[in-house]
Symmetry: C2
Subunit: 139 residues, 2 copies
DNA sequence: TTCATTGCAAAAGCTTTGCATGTGT
DNA sequence: ACACATGCAAAGCTTTTGCAATGAA
């Protein structure tokens, strides 16, 4: 997903392409793995961006709407996001002791879910599987 | 899980069996399906309980610790809980339009997860699968 | 010019906590 | 009596929002 796609989406919604929005978009594209809003905000600040928290709060929902990022979990009552990489959907195992997040992907799991949805006559859009337990170092 | 178990747990932790805690426990046992803290608090109020929100906030973590309830999702930035019924673990399909929650259970899914965890050398404690999409009435 | 966007600060939630009071053991 | 539990109100945090100023089209 490149900036062109982002511009297109923004314009198609009657919104405007602005410097701040582009900065936020660019930064999100650079982040590997999870991040929360404040981490993103701090990264932007560190790079000299004059963006405000309010704008970040206002922009993230747009990125979710595009499908560029998704909310993967909520810990400590604040949201964590992760960039969606085409063809690289994965789920998470989260260690209850050290907090480590192990990403994994299983085609079988995906297929199984599709079958379950079909059985319930449910049109699946996305899903979120989090397995909690103890990683090899903590168990 | 009955009140005896609850008492036992409370005492074994050096805590005290109190009227308020028992009221909260009883109410949670009566709730079918999801609830959030405020719903629980309101139900208690409606029944004439003099319990405060603070006590409910302080008691829910205990119930989670016992394994009596679990946090199933976070919507609107506040936690939703659901009673754990022995032998009736299930996952959720959540409709993006009407918000309906369809509960389902798949033994195959459970087994598959166990296999995936084994592969990662991860000791699974619990998991949480939410499939988002559109239910048969909304799709 | 027009209308969306932004920043600021205030407001709005939900949740936690300090402290004095109440209560189980 | 001694802790723990509770309620209240205040504080803490994250997130949202009103409004005036700014900027894109």
């Amino acid at each position: 997903m490149d900036r062109g796609f982002f511009q297109e989406f923004i314009l198609s919604k009657g919104l405007r392409s602005t410097k701040k929005r582009n900065e936020i978009f660019d930064e999100v594209m650079e982040i590997e793995g999870h991040f929360d809003l404040d981490e993103l905000y701090m990264r932007l600040k560190q790079k000299g961006s004059k963006v405000s928290r309010a704008s970040v709060y206002r922009t993230l929902p747009l990125l979710v709407e595009i499908g560029l990022i998704e909310e993967v979990e909520r810990v400590d009552k604040h949201a964590h996001y992760e960039r969606v990489r085409t063809g690289s959907h994965h789920d998470h195992m989260i260690c209850l002791k050290c907090g480590k997040v192990i990403e994994f992907y299983s085609p079988t799991l995906e297929t199984l879910q599709d079958e379950l949805c079909e059985r319930e006559n449910f049109k699946k859009v996305r899903h979120n599987l989090e397995i909690y337990g103890y990683c090899k170092d903590c168990k």
